[in-house]
């Protein structure tokens, strides 16, 4: 299949090596454990493999077969055909990390385009070539902030309205007592705004982390929080949904020092959770503290403009145990997809689709709020996701919705005991008015009138 050798070629090669059998090349492997019989099913031809994969895929009910209102960190958006056409090109798809710039100007320039686009979108001055996803980007922001204060500030104030998976990932990355996390262990009321975090910020605080829009879809102006954070000498990290930045004030404008985010809404398929894209941008003062690959502009020996991986002295392959992160492989091809998506939409298109999500979500929220027994949990501004207090357990409602081919919202009681019977509903440009009417009609059947 993928091994081109003929028997004659193999024999000739063995002869050049000076052995008669391939098996002789493995004498260093302990004999007792050499050539195990692997208990795996026999190999398939491409035709058979495709049939098997179609069978497995066909069992799944997709967000296109169903009408989906599920978000909570991964969103169903339209992906223009040109995105996949570009990322499927073998020259991008099968290229290695651009360590040899003379052979990688395509990838390097595309990353530079990516860095430029994300910096513009977030209102920041520099952006790295990506982290794994929205969760690990936050964990890296924590490491960066602690390193920025050389370990002298070890307190992290974290909003309870930051995605539960992101908070969990930060905890996994930081076992033991090296840092202290406060803010999401009932210190503040979930219903309160960002100002509730301010009393937790002190001279030991390295970083304050919030989400924008937050996990519940709420939009807050973080200016006062940024001011209090900076007054204490700490840094502010804001985890964003980049789709929302098509219409909302960028975090750079209200004083964020680090902007992270989940780039999946920018032309990346849901694909059961990955691969996605960890956005990471910062101010120029902190560029050297930022982990991950960076592409910079320079010239070649003839003075021709060219691009290269730069500041590599920060990275693990040079600094080894002194590096602040071990990241090596990142999300290169996914960053390319996001760049193509942003360049196709441009300033007008991103605003258009961002507002489309906003209008549809607000229409859905107003319709659901009018149903007896349902109530909006939050009265202030929100983006394309909102929390509804339900008259029955969310699981029960979702089972009923599924019978009508509707994929309901996220059951918040799983992560927040105080939000038992609360559903997080996401609406995007993919949901038509008919879809929303269907959701409302089926919800009406379960309302407690």
């Amino acid at each position: 299949m993928f091994i081109p050798h003929t028997d004659a070629e193999r024999e000739a090669m063995l002869q050049t090596i000076g052995v008669t059998l391939v098996e002789e090349l493995f004498k260093d492997v302990p004999a007792a454990h050499r050539f195990p019989d692997l208990n795996l099913p026999p190999g398939l031809t491409e035709m058979e493999a495709m049939a098997e994969m179609q069978g497995l895929a066909g069992v799944n009910e997709t967000v296109r077969d169903l009408v989906s209102f599920l978000g909570a960190g991964a969103y169903n958006h339209y992906i223009p055909a040109a995105v996949d056409a570009i990322i499927r090109r073998g020259e991008f798809l099968t290229a290695y990390t651009p360590y040899q710039p003379e052979l990688s100007q395509g990838t390097l320039r595309a990353i530079f385009d990516y860095q430029s686009s994300i910096a513009a979108l977030t209102g920041m001055e520099a952006c790295n070539a990506s982290h794994y996803d929205g969760a690990t980007a936050v964990a890296e922001a924590v490491s960066m902030a602690v390193a920025n204060f050389r370990g002298k500030r070890t307190k992290i104030v974290i909003s309870p309205a930051l995605h539960p998976h992101y908070r969990a990932t930060v905890r996994t990355y930081n076992p033991g007592n090296a840092i202290t996390l406060v803010g999401d262990s009932s210190e503040v009321d979930l219903e309160s705004g960002p100002e509730a975090l301010i009393p937790l910020i002190d001279a030991h605080t390295a970083l304050v982390v919030v989400q924008y829009p937050d996990f519940f879809g709420r939009i807050f102006d973080y200016s006062a929080l940024a001011e209090a954070t900076h007054a204490a000498g700490a840094l502010l990290a804001v985890a964003v949904n980049p789709m929302a930045l098509g219409m909302l004030t960028p975090p750079g404008d209200f004083g964020a020092d680090i902007v992270t985010g989940e780039g999946q809404p920018l032309g990346i398929p849901l694909s059961y959770g990955g691969p996605y894209l960890g956005l990471f941008a910062t101010r120029k003062d902190y560029v050297r503290k930022m982990a991950g690959r960076l592409v910079g502009e320079t010239v070649d020996k003839d003075g021709k403009r060219a691009y290269v991986l730069t500041l590599t002295a920060r990275e693990q392959h040079i600094r080894r145990e002194k590096a602040t992160s071990n990241i090596c492989t990142n999300q290169g091809l996914i960053a390319l997809a996001a760049t193509v998506y942003l360049s196709l939409l441009g300033k007008g298109g991103l605003k258009e689709v961002s507002e489309l999500c906003y209008h549809k979500a607000h229409f859905a929220a107003s319709q659901i709020a009018a149903l007896p027994g349902f109530e909006l949990w939050h009265q202030g501004p929100f983006y394309h996701e909102f929390v509804v207090r339900c008259p029955r357990p969310v699981k029960e409602i979702n089972e009923h919705l599924l019978e009508h081919d509707v994929l309901g919202g996220y059951d918040l009681g799983q992560d927040y005991p105080e939000l038992k019977d609360h559903m997080l509903i996401a609406v995007t440009e993919m949901n038509s008015r008919e879809d929303i009417d269907l959701l409302v009609d089926v919800l009406a059947e379960v309302s407690d009138d």
């Binding site: 491409e46 090109r89 003379e102 910079g296 502009e297 990142n330 760049t339 994929l407």
Partner: protein, 495 residues
């Protein structure tokens, strides 16, 4: 003229994609929270396609040529993988959907866990880690959690051979462990005396790449593992070099406690110009409870009428999740497709031919290039890129000159224990013709090094750009379009 940047192509008012008008009433926008300016480029679809297609043509790639990059396993990436990963039933499912609606995906993940367990000889596998380095982090956090769960919290020392990838020490430090470097012996194995000296009650574990980055299978691997275990430590296997071991030996059988797999190396998922990867982790029975959650398991047994129900479970003493959701599912679909197409015989053939190709190249090159460790190699080997009678020529020059012969250079200046290292990994998917052409180029370059060294020093000559001014890039630090060059950091040092 090389293709301009996106921002330079922008024309105000252009648009590549339009969306429908809202079919619902417009809501009032949130006062004070609406952005005034969105400085993104404005282009038509044709502009975008031409821009990125032209950029792609500036790249080297597996689809266009041969990459002998040591420890990177740049094998051919089968096209069927790209089709299967894009099947709507895989591409369009949400990570938080009820498991009852996605049993096909659950079964695929369960079976992939089982296959990786069987291939590596482990009792449990997590598919969650996003890349090799992320798998390493997961593995070291598991080792740490294991010792702590036993109340053995003084074990904070991780031993790392001097031939290791940079990610190993970086991972250990990131996990709050102390790194101690271990010397290699004259045959490229772990130095047993050096190891013995470090085997005390502060030992948390050893991170071992086997075959190591010299491409050598450690001749004492069982002894090394026994010594670490007797001292109470655990052994982590860096699976970056697993392409040498499929059906050849199982790390779990050799005594490794933890190992990460690189789906983007061994199991053919594309490198994508730097990612995404996927770094599942396998563990021995005593570590299964510490795996990050969730993993896929049977949550309701089946019977004659009903298949079992697969779902997500979190192990009892889990270190927690290492990322959002369940991992790089798209990469899992590709790797599953690849393993299914190969079966046990096909997998063994992969490693046999990867090793055959490496030994063939080594045999043909070792009379011209110094081979510091002259032993049968596994899937890769390391040469020195220097000659006493051509003192001006370095490995870098050889690497750059190879580009003029239409080859990607090998990994160079790594591993650090070889002077002017050229680390060559052919993989199994390269034909004898390609290998012979590569050897011919390297032999010619060796000749040029002695007869016309300036040709090497000035190389490459045929690429879209020549050698770059990397100091300027780091000093002036232009990282975004439109940001002027005054970005330079006053205290910047090249260290």
């Amino acid at each position: 003229m090389i293709e301009p940047l996106l921002c330079e192509l922008s024309v105000p008012g252009r648009r590549g994609v339009r969306f429908p008008e809202p079919d619902v009433p417009r809501a009032e926008l949130p006062a004070g929270l609406v952005r005034q300016d969105l400085p993104l480029s404005e282009l038509s679809e044709v502009d975008v396609i031409r821009h990125f297609t032209r950029l792609s043509q500036l790249n080297y790639s597996i689809d266009t040529g041969y990459y002998p990059l040591g420890s990177c396993t740049m094998k051919y990436n089968p096209k069927i993988n790209e089709e299967t990963a894009r099947l709507p039933g895989f591409a369009n499912i949400h990570p938080l959907q009820p498991v009852e609606t996605i049993q096909g995906a659950m079964l695929l993940m369960f079976e992939l866990q089982e296959m990786l367990k069987e291939i590596g000889g482990f009792a449990g596998v997590t598919l969650q880690p996003a890349a090799g380095a992320h798998g390493e982090l997961t593995g070291v956090l598991i080792i740490r959690a294991y010792h702590e769960a036993r109340g053995d919290s003084k074990r904070t020392k991780i031993l790392i051979p001097d031939s290791a990838h940079g990610t190993n020490p970086a991972t250990s430090a990131m996990s709050g462990m102390q790194v101690v470097q271990l010397a290699s012996d004259a045959r490229g194995n772990v130095d047993l005396e050096a190891l013995r000296a470090e085997c005390d009650d502060s030992l948390a574990g050893l991170m071992l790449t086997n075959p190591n980055t010299l491409g050598l299978f450690d001749e004492n691997v069982e002894e090394v593992i026994r010594m670490v275990h007797e001292a109470g430590g655990l052994v982590y296997g860096d699976g970056a070099n697993m392409n040498a071991l499929l059906g050849i030996t199982r790390p779990g059988d050799l005594g490794f406690d933890v190992l990460h797999y690189n789906l983007h190396k061994t199991f053919s998922t594309p490198h994508g110009g730097g990612g995404p990867g996927s770094g599942p982790v396998g563990v021995a029975a005593h570590l299964v409870d510490f795996l990050p959650g969730p993993i896929v398991d049977i949550i309701e047994e089946g019977d004659d009428e009903q298949p079992p129900l697969y779902g997500l479970v979190t192990p009892a003493k889990s270190i927690g999740r290492v990322k959002a959701f369940q991992g790089h599912f798209g990469m899992m679909v590709r790797a599953y497709t690849y393993i299914r197409m190969h079966g046990p015989e096909g997998l063994r053939k992969i490693s046999e031919y990867a090793v055959l190709n490496a030994n063939y190249l080594m045999a043909r090159l070792k009379d011209t290039y110094t081979l510091p460790y002259d032993r049968t190699c596994m899937h890769e080997f390391v040469l020195e890129g220097r000659w006493a009678d051509a003192p001006d020529v370095h490995a870098l020059d050889i690497a750059k000159r190879l580009m003029d012969y239409d080859f990607h250079p090998p990994t160079n200046y790594f591993p650090l224990i070889v002077h002017e290292a050229l680390m060559i990994e052919p993989t199994e998917t390269e034909s004898k013709q390609t290998l012979d052409a590569f050897v011919d180029a390297l032999l010619k370059i060796a000749e040029e090094a002695h007869t016309q060294p300036e040709t090497l020093k000035e190389a490459p000559h045929k690429t879209p750009v020549g050698r770059l001014d990397e100091v300027k890039a780091a000093k002036e630090l232009v990282l975004c379009c439109g940001v002027d060059a005054s970005f330079a950091l006053p205290d910047f040092e090249l260290s």
